[in-house]
């Protein structure tokens, strides 16, 4: 039962990672742009959601508002600043988006303070009995459901629509796509908006589980980068597989290793070593994937 519960937790965390990684992998894969500030959009989304939920008293309205506002904010950011960075080298992109992290972290602190309370809606606070003997928090089920639906919608968007085909064309060969008349620049403002909206969903949904605080984007950003490197830069399918693998390794590793360590380590060491080894395991996994498949699991460039 513990394993089933932890597997569900892992899947849930993986789906949230996917929401973050989806936008990141497209911007990285198609525009060859390292955007360190992607995690800041996740933070902005969470703060706006917490603020709107408190303002309107409705969880759904709050999240919907946060998604729209963060998407608009992301698109504005893309048009004003990030667009000029596409043609620059990676180092300039690192410096500029690192600067953006400083600005957004402190900007959010000025407007909202260091942290905001955000709790799950009361109707979903209790547990649900999935199977006899298996109870699971209702709110986590909601996250799972939203994550699955959004992953499906994104897959339909990328695989079955004209816009998705253009994005895939761009990821596979940007120069050729541009030569064939695709307006990549305009397309990417839109893609960036979708990426920002997905960040907001992840930030708002994870807010009640983790904390809505300044700096929340920095740790999860690196995991999102690990996800897209494992999956293959530019590939949505790779991001999904990578996210679920990373979410699973991180979550299962934390609990299972802790149990394992308790067998032969003193308890205060076991409780600390479990999470540490699980966190390290994610990076070891990435190193192994890169050693076997240097382009990631699903290379986007053919």
């Amino acid at each position: 039962m513990l394993i089933v519960e932890q597997a569900l937790n892992g899947l849930q965390f993986g789906l949230m990672l996917f929401l973050l990684a989806a936008g990141l992998t497209l911007v990285f894969g198609v525009m060859d742009m390292i955007n360190l500030a992607h995690g800041s959009l996740y933070m902005v989304g969470a703060f706006v959601a917490a603020w709107l939920v408190a303002l309107t008293g409705s969880f759904v309205l709050g999240i919907a508002g946060a998604v729209v506002l963060t998407a608009v904010f992301g698109m504005a950011l893309e048009v004003v600043l990030l667009r000029t960075l596409y043609a620059r080298d990676h180092l300039s992109q690192v410096l500029a988006t690192f600067a953006l992290i400083l600005i957004l972290n402190d900007g959010v602190k000025m407007i909202f303070g260091n942290d905001l309370p955000l709790s799950a809606p009361a109707a979903l606070a209790g547990p649900v009995e999935l199977l006899p003997g298996l109870v699971y928090p209702a709110y986590r089920l909601l996250i799972l459901a939203v994550g699955l639906v959004l992953a499906l919608l994104l897959w339909l968007l990328v695989q079955k629509t004209r816009m998705g085909a253009l994005v895939r064309a761009g990821a596979s060969n940007r120069t050729m796509a541009t030569a064939l008349g695709v307006d990549i620049t305009r397309l990417f403002t839109f893609v960036f908006g979708i990426g920002a909206a997905l960040c907001a969903v992840a930030g708002a949904l994870l807010g009640p589980l983790l904390a809505v605080q300044v700096g929340m984007g920095e740790n999860i950003l690196i995991l999102a980068f690990v996800v897209i490197v494992i999956g293959g830069i530019g590939s949505i399918r790779g991001a999904l597989v990578g996210a679920i693998l990373v979410g699973g390794i991180d979550t299962l590793g934390r609990t299972l290793l802790q149990h394992l360590f308790r067998e032969f380590l003193p308890p205060q060491w076991a409780s600390a070593a479990g999470p540490a080894v699980a966190s390290v395991a994610v990076y070891v996994f990435m190193a192994v994937v890169l050693a076997v498949k240097p382009q990631g699991l699903f290379p986007a460039r053919g």
Binding site: L91, S92, A99, D106, G107, I222, V229, A272, M286, A287
Partner: protein, 325 residues
């Protein structure tokens, strides 16, 4: 013609001597003006300048975009901190251990990472630094996520004469000496055989390999040297702050060092120094004027990316080139 060619060299020597006089006299100037407090800021700038210079060696001259340089700085800090908290105070023992540990770590990390290139090199070096970050978080015996406080500092005994880095003046001058030695070594490295080989590798490693350079081995040598220098900067930082925490290994720390190098000037001898000085002074000044120093620091960095493409040293160089013509 001859005098014109000699002139910039002379101006440069004069500027260097003036700069040396100012930094050497700085502690006394600060005391005379009643700004003793700023001596620790000056030491912090020097320590960060060493770390940034070591990153500039890999990143600028080696063309290896390492996003995990904090691993070596943090490792040096932890080795020193752990030794002090275990009662070992000998500075030469600290130095020896830091050099050994960081050289070994850089050799292992470099040997694996240098098999990849481009974005994957960035991510692998980052991954190794993150591993050390989580490791430091888990060693409860040495502070865990709360970090490690040390009371004592490194003690160097030189033939009956004892140098205690607890003394802020001693720390400042030792750090300054390390920085001067690394800048001198870097300036000598650039026009050396290995230096030219590195530039060839950086600009086109396939061609360099075809010419017959052992590119992998050369890159590894530079990577290890930079790691060791970073570790020494870390050892100095523990002596400065009396504290080391896992945050010293966090990726934002690697990012800060990278920002210093890019801000100052990639592949310029003085780039690391300029970047560290400007960024830390900026944070200090803006931090004392407003509560939101980071916010305005971010805007200044953005302006540098958009308007000064080759960093601060780049601006100075192009101005000199303009005035020469």
């Amino acid at each position: 013609m001859l005098s014109e060619a000699k002139h910039p060299g002379l101006a440069r020597s004069v500027a260097l001597i003036a700069l040396a006089a100012i930094v050497l006299a700085l502690p006394f100037l600060l005391r005379a003006l009643g700004f003793d407090f700023y001596l620790s800021l000056a030491s912090r700038i020097v320590v960060y300048a060493i770390a940034a210079t070591s990153l500039n060696l890999v990143l600028g001259y080696g063309g290896m975009v390492s996003f995990g340089h904090a691993a070596f700085v943090g490792l040096g800090a932890y080795v020193t901190g752990v030794m002090i908290s275990e009662g070992v105070q000998s500075g030469s023992a600290h130095l020896g251990a830091v050099v050994l540990v960081t050289a070994f770590a850089a050799l292992a990390i470099g040997a694996i990472s240098l098999r990849t290139r481009g974005v994957y090199f960035i991510m692998i070096t980052l991954a190794f630094a993150q591993m050390l970050f989580y490791l430091a978080n888990s060693v409860k015996g040495y502070g865990g996520d709360e970090g490690l406080n040390v009371r004592a500092r490194s003690l160097f005994s030189l033939g009956g004469w004892v140098l205690d880095l607890k003394n802020p003046l001693a720390l400042y001058y030792v750090a300054l000496a390390v920085l001067a030695a690394s800048l001198f070594a870097l300036a000598r490295f650039v026009p050396s055989r290995l230096g030219y080989a590195m530039l060839a590798i950086r600009d086109d490693d396939v061609r360099a390999e075809a010419i017959g350079f052992p590119t992998y081995r050369y890159k590894l040598v530079v990577f290890v040297a930079a790691g060791v220098l970073g570790g020494i900067a870390g050892a100095l930082s523990v002596n400065l702050q009396g504290y080391v925490s896992p945050n010293a290994l966090h990726w934002t720390q690697s990012g800060t060092l990278m920002v210093m190098v890019i801000l100052g000037g990639v592949a310029t001898v003085w780039g690391g120094v300029a970047g560290a000085a400007v960024l830390l002074l900026l944070q200090e000044m803006l931090g004392s004027w407003t509560e939101h120093g980071e916010f305005w620091t971010g805007w200044v960095l953005l302006a540098v990316v958009l308007f000064a493409r080759r960093g601060l040293v780049g601006i100075a160089l192009s101005r000199r080139a303009q005035s020469a013509t």
